[in-house]
Symmetry: C2
Subunit: 456 residues, 2 copies
Amino acid sequence: MSEHLERDLAAVLPPEGLVTDPDVLDAHRHDQADWAPAGRPRMLVRPGSTAEVQAVLRVATAHRVPVVARGAGSGLSGGANAVEGCILLSLAQMNRILEIDRRALLAVVQPGVINGALKAAAAEQGLWYAPDPASWEFSTLGGNLATNAGGLCCVKYGVTGDAALGLEVVLADGSVVRTGGRTVKNVAGYDLTRLFVGSEGTLGIITEATLRLRPRPPKATTLLASFPSLVGAGVAVMDIMAGLRPSLLELMDRTTVRAVEAARPMGLDGEAAALLLARSDAGGEQGVEECARMAAVCEAAGATFVAQSADEAEGELLLGARRFAFPALEKLGTTLLDDVGVPLSRIAELLAAVERIAAQRGVLIGTFGHAGDGNMHPTLVFDRNDPDAVTRAQAAFEDILHVVGALGGTLTGEHGVGLLKRPFLAAQLGPGTMRLHHTLKAAMDPLGLLNPGKLL
Amino acid sequence: MSEHLERDLAAVLPPEGLVTDPDVLDAHRHDQADWAPAGRPRMLVRPGSTAEVQAVLRVATAHRVPVVARGAGSGLSGGANAVEGCILLSLAQMNRILEIDRRALLAVVQPGVINGALKAAAAEQGLWYAPDPASWEFSTLGGNLATNAGGLCCVKYGVTGDAALGLEVVLADGSVVRTGGRTVKNVAGYDLTRLFVGSEGTLGIITEATLRLRPRPPKATTLLASFPSLVGAGVAVMDIMAGLRPSLLELMDRTTVRAVEAARPMGLDGEAAALLLARSDAGGEQGVEECARMAAVCEAAGATFVAQSADEAEGELLLGARRFAFPALEKLGTTLLDDVGVPLSRIAELLAAVERIAAQRGVLIGTFGHAGDGNMHPTLVFDRNDPDAVTRAQAAFEDILHVVGALGGTLTGEHGVGLLKRPFLAAQLGPGTMRLHHTLKAAMDPLGLLNPGKLL
């Protein structure tokens, strides 16, 4: 049967578009979620066009073989992991920026374009592609769309879905649909764009996207504030968001700060319960003033140290420390990077609960993330060769998700459900909403061939 | 059969929740789209709770009777018009603001809450509910969500859907689902919130919404610019959007300006091809400076008159003229208010085409709208008692939609498809995307009871 499948795929793809080399397959089985299982793919296909994606899906449908789409494999939930016996469909070859329309403020791209490549191309036109997941230098726009990726600038400029004006999508049966268009506002029919964004390859395969560009914001002024208590940091986040418009509002807890300092000493306050890093891109004097107002809010909330800088190099240095949070924690052991969201008012409670869980379970947990959106990344550090440590880490991971549920939060803010969060989704959504998910999945992919066992 | 239906509805509703008085029914048959046909409803129900909405839908399902949901009836596409023999389901009684969480920056509301009531309640907490359709003083939030209503502030702050964090929705079979939640970022499952937003009551009935609040922006500085050519105005809009972040960017063409001046003389330039009205809410000196930069862009694009004011009363006066555009055109005859969107780069072409169509068809057309989003409202004025004039207006209306299609635009930017745009939807979406719409509709409402014949 595999031979027939291979023959039929070979008939619709160029020679370099069909790969069966076991080493290459093995290198493409996994995304970056170490904990999530991955099956063995039957083959890897690398279509170069929408028509080839259609052809692959028609063959897959004829053979009833599952298809798992992938971009750069930088996902953090196992969403792009191979399913046993699947066709892995890499969009990496479809990596052309088809159009940048400077006057309409949009770009049309293929899904394999790297986020940073679009940023660079937009910048050449004096424009800005806003969404900035931590992986922006290597993740693809198709993957960003499939997971509705977030990032640091979301707090002011929204997530990937907010930049998606329209999509071209190949459905399970190989047919093509176009959603949305080239306008900012559009209510002609259902919002299918948003239905595909974040659907993790389970409803269709994005083969083209029309993305919104923006004017480049003015240079940012940066603020660093050090808090002796988690509650104080949480109050500062709420009060900043209630009155101002930071272009970035990030938090690092003590464990994270110490990990960063241990790897790259730069004088961050390792005694603080939490550091806040904030930016204003209001521009010029207004940016300095907005930063000063954020500083005053921090001081009123009990910050013991507050420093502000309009110097770009200094700002980038501080931002670099925040971006280094995860790599620094990775140096301490095996990591499990979590991704949870809570209402803005519950951040301090979340942080305190994570500290408590870390102590109770005997697991090192560093928490950092996008405080202004209530989206945090508790990162569990353990020794993967110590079975007891692994068990305790697993228990702590589940404890955190329970706390998030109790706080009215979400089990994933920007990384997606994938495999890692799938066992917990039903508890958050409830039976009615889960049923509706299955209704939509069954209607759009009746044979269940698109990334089966992910998300749902 | 009607008697059995009435008996079964009476069993699940309080006496005041079931209305069969022909005069009341007649008063509720229509929204504000004069041109769209309306059937005669069998009865009007006014549920007071989600449980009562569920009970009504269970009865409707048992009797196979269509259900048309409505809020204030201020829609502009016939989306809430009665279908012959339907149950009209008014959400107007479900008008409580259930919660304003100042610290989490959100409100939980029932669908019958008036947009302006939420704005006022948010303001009491020092916060802001941004979405501002022209109908904000009398339209309901449920209706705003069902149509994904836009407004003037969208250009900076997004449309209604951008403020929707979560929904409670009753499906056709009477079951309840909850979508989204209380967090800003959330990728746990499909984006069902956005699927229901803008679905015009065809997929489910929104019974509760969790809406995002924001800090109140600083006081705005206002700019008025007068252009001798449409092309100049179009260039100014593009150049402003490519470099700055106006909190409002509206346009009125000559016909509109003259109608406003005729009804309320205030010295607007009736010789100009178009006026632009722009605002910056960057705050303080920065707002004044951003407005000055917009003024410079207008001058470079050929504006013959540019005036800027940081005085709030003066700004409101100018804004009042823009808000008076439609009422002023209504004074000239019967109106057909259209709602189309084009890519930002095509605004001047759209305006020129509308002028040409007006001349060719012999129809007065005033165009105004949200230029910064490419979302314009060509408004046809004619004598409804003159059959020839009606025919010419109808032809002009269709001409405009064809032009919009040719410009890569959308046949509705913020008013919805309803009945008015339904005949034209397939041409814009194409057969594959239409088929997917029907697939979703059939999966979620297999008996086709929810607002049948609207949108699709």
